[in-house]
Symmetry: C2
Subunit: 210 residues, 2 copies
DNA sequence: AGAAGATGCGTCACTGATGTTGCAAGTAAA
DNA sequence: TTTACTTGCAACATCAGTGACGCATCTTCT
């Protein structure tokens, strides 16, 4: 499970070595979550939204937001960190190295979609300069690569596919499906994605002019 | 051909009915183009870039930018307008209604890719509330739809495809391919896109477990 | 109940970006 | 060459967003 592990409110400026992670009181933790979720909603609709708007959506005062997240930057970092952990969990939970490629592909897709739908803004605001984000990013990339290789060896993918392009298209399909306004179920979308990835939209045997 | 037809520098505030489109002097027109191109480059790298940075990249003073484009907003509108016209020309030039579906699909893809690569930021900043943009948008959407129907009827696409999802994936593939850093040729990318769209990455006859 | 913690509110300071104006110097076009 | 246009520069006004405090009040936890 992903934990909050948020850091640095306005008070911890001369932090130094005392950056102990003190547990939050119950109400404070609720507030932090409310802010993160509100930020996702508001920034998702308008990436240039102000702290004021985020605070309002979270049902707190703007100063409270600043108390929890020293700067706007810090808030975004916290969001991406949280989303990244969710993302990592989603991939891990699908056990992509342990199940048959077809199953893994479907499971990973569905799990990631759920996170992507709920944390779309944060997942797009990822900064590769953050060590945690970068680590998860490459880790997932590796697993994706391994999964595709297994899929290829199992005859699920053609032997001559460009794995890099395949991955990029796969990511793009997930991204596109996540934009679905009609609130489709993640499983339905995952099915569609995998089907599209594997078969495309053409006839099974190429153009029918044969 | 798309024309500049830029409007409203800082002076034309009480414009009224005298919004005659006076032709620009040669040097001024060069400046306008330089600003538009610089804006595309700079904003493409950092959407939050300042007018100052754009001006610098264009090799002019910030005040000159404001002389040509009263507000930042106006600059973006001009960019999207310009890009939109290029986009429309790109689609039209491919004659999607007149050539065989397979040819049209390839030509449209290649032409649009060229615009998308050069005007990526502007094409993403499109505002559907602008009448010109909205018109081109729906027009292209219609042509895309007709093209896909013809492709389906010609046996290029499966009879049961979801045309809406197909179009979204098509757009996403173009978008993804346009991000290619390696400066690949538009024709190469178009080939890859069409191939991916039609065949996906799986085996021709489905999973080989047959 | 009491202590520690959390929030709302009002307020202030600071910063960076935007948009405007006047003027002198340079450039295109007739 | 003359005229109209264009640009750079410097200065100015404005404004929105950000971040920081102190204090009174309320909540949580022990």
């Amino acid at each position: 499970m992903a934990t909050l592990s948020y850091s640095s409110g306005v008070t911890s400026k001369a932090g130094g070595a005392s950056d102990r992670v003190r547990p939050l009181r119950a109400d404070a933790e609720r507030t932090v979550r409310a802010i993160l979720e509100a930020a996702e909603r508001v920034l998702g609709a308008n990436p240039a939204a102000t702290m004021e708007q985020i605070a309002e959506a979270a049902g707190v005062a703007r100063t409270t937001v600043h108390r929890r997240f020293a700067t706007r930057e810090a808030l975004i970092v916290a969001m991406t960190g949280w989303a990244t952990r969710q993302f990592h969990d989603a991939v891990t939970a699908a056990r992509p190295d342990a199940t048959p490629p077809a199953v893994a592909l479907y499971q990973v897709t569905a799990n990631v979609l759920r996170v992507k739908i709920a944390w779309g803004f944060a997942m797009n605001a990822l900064r590769t300069d953050d060590p945690e984000v970068a680590h998860v990013h490459t880790d997932v990339l590796d697993r994706c690569d391994r999964l595709f290789r297994r899929a290829r060896d199992a005859g699920l993918l053609r032997p001559d596919v460009d794995l890099d392009w395949t991955r990029r298209v796969y990511y793009a399909l997930i991204h596109e499906a996540a934009q679905d306004d009609r609130g489709e179920d993640a499983d339905v979308l995952a099915t569609r994605i995998v089907d599209t990835l594997l078969r495309g939209f053409g006839m099974p045997d190429g153009p029918s002019a044969r």
